[in-house]
């Protein structure tokens, strides 16, 4: 406790020292952000500059990020690996109104996710945000339907393939960029019209690859943790319930 207080005071002093060197809040004057804001729309015909920064100008960073995501999901899958056992769904949603409303909410959330992905380079959104919304729709199936529905909707091996496909497609699109645009992750498609779905060149492809990877990765994570929560048939008695 005393140690933390001393270290905290030292850290506070360092932070204060660093803050003094920063420009006043609201007086941004670095060239890189301003340059991107100025050239992104004329050069790439994309209206969402954050999206185009993620998938085009800083595409290599995003590639690294995709593989962080991929590696950690592989790590979780390995850590939570269990012996193949019969699993009993220890939970069940019995309320009909909740199931009915839930089904509507699942469809709405799924469509919202697709929409956020599709217009990622036009309006706020993109593969990461939309992928999370899509994965949320799958998790909602579990919340309003129970594990049995969730499990029958999501066969495990295609899911892991989809995750690997998303990460692989991003890397391969980078090589296509070398062939057709002369640089890794270069933009190799026609630019189209700014503000429409046909714009920003090859960014839509990278955007969808990311959405597939993020969605599949999160659903794999949900599945792995839910699998732990589901008890083996032998250790579960209806009177006790789970745990």
């Amino acid at each position: 406790m005393i140690g933390f207080a001393i270290a905290g005071a030292g850290f506070a002093a360092l932070v204060f020292w660093a803050l003094v060197g920063l420009p006043d809040f609201g007086h941004y004057h670095w060239p890189y952000g301003n340059a991107l804001n100025a050239i992104a729309t004329p050069e790439r015909h994309a209206t969402n500059v954050v999206g185009i920064t993620v998938f085009d100008y800083r595409g290599l960073d995003t590639l690294g990020e995709e593989f962080i995501l991929f590696a950690s999901v592989v790590g979780v899958s390995l850590l939570l690996r269990k012996d193949p056992e019969e699993h009993v769904p220890a939970d069940e949603v019995r309320s009909d109104p909740i199931r009915a409303l839930g089904a509507v909410a699942v469809v709405l959330l799924f469509v919202l996710g697709l929409w956020v992905v599709a217009f990622g380079y036009v309006t706020p959104g993109g593969g990461f945000q939309g992928g999370v919304a899509l994965a949320g729709a799958f998790l909602l199936v579990y919340v309003v339907g129970g594990y049995r529905q969730y499990h029958s909707l999501l066969p495990h091996s295609p899911l892991e393939m989809a995750e690997a496909f998303g990460a692989g497609a991003f890397a391969i699109l980078g090589f296509v960029g070398i062939v057709y645009a002369g640089a890794y992750l270069g933009n190799f498609l026609g630019l189209g019209n700014a503000g429409s779905l046909y714009s920003a060149g090859s960014v839509p492809l990278l955007n969808w690859a990311t959405a597939i990877e993020v969605c599949a990765a999160l659903v794999v994570l949900f599945s792995e943790f839910l699998k732990i929560y589901m008890l083996p048939a032998a250790s579960w008695t209806p009177e006790e319930g789970p745990r």
């Binding site: 941004y28 804001n37 995501l69 999901v73 979780v76 503000g195």
Partner: protein
């Protein structure tokens, strides 16, 4: 003249750090780490903010906009945070399976 957003970022970071240092539960520790990382989101977004500027979404015309690079970095930051927390929680589950505890000090006693 305002350094308040930067100070807020530092404060969130230190609060999370205190949680990590004093934590007696691996799940709690993972949540504190998320709080710590939230400080970096605030710092990044505060650095990119420009008075009187809007989001860097240009339609139909050009207008003063905040820095898109730090926003893209924050996006990366959030995704990495989520996946790392998933990994830590999986490790906590594995530790609990091995030692029957999520208290780091009790787990350390097992060491073997």
């Amino acid at each position: 003249m305002s350094y308040l957003p930067y100070a807020l970022a530092g404060w969130i970071f230190v609060v999370g750090l205190y949680g990590v240092v004093s934590s007696r539960n691996l799940i709690h520790l993972a949540v504190c780490l998320t709080v710590m990382q939230s400080g970096t989101y605030v710092l990044l977004l505060a650095i990119g903010y420009k008075n009187g500027a809007a989001a860097p979404i240009f339609r139909p015309s050009h207008h003063p906009a905040v820095d898109p690079v730090v926003q893209a970095l924050t996006l990366t930051d959030i995704v990495v945070s989520v996946t790392v927390v998933a990994l830590i929680l999986a490790l906590a589950l594995a530790a609990h399976k091995e030692s029957g505890s999520v208290n780091p000090e009790e787990i350390a006693d097992f060491s073997g």
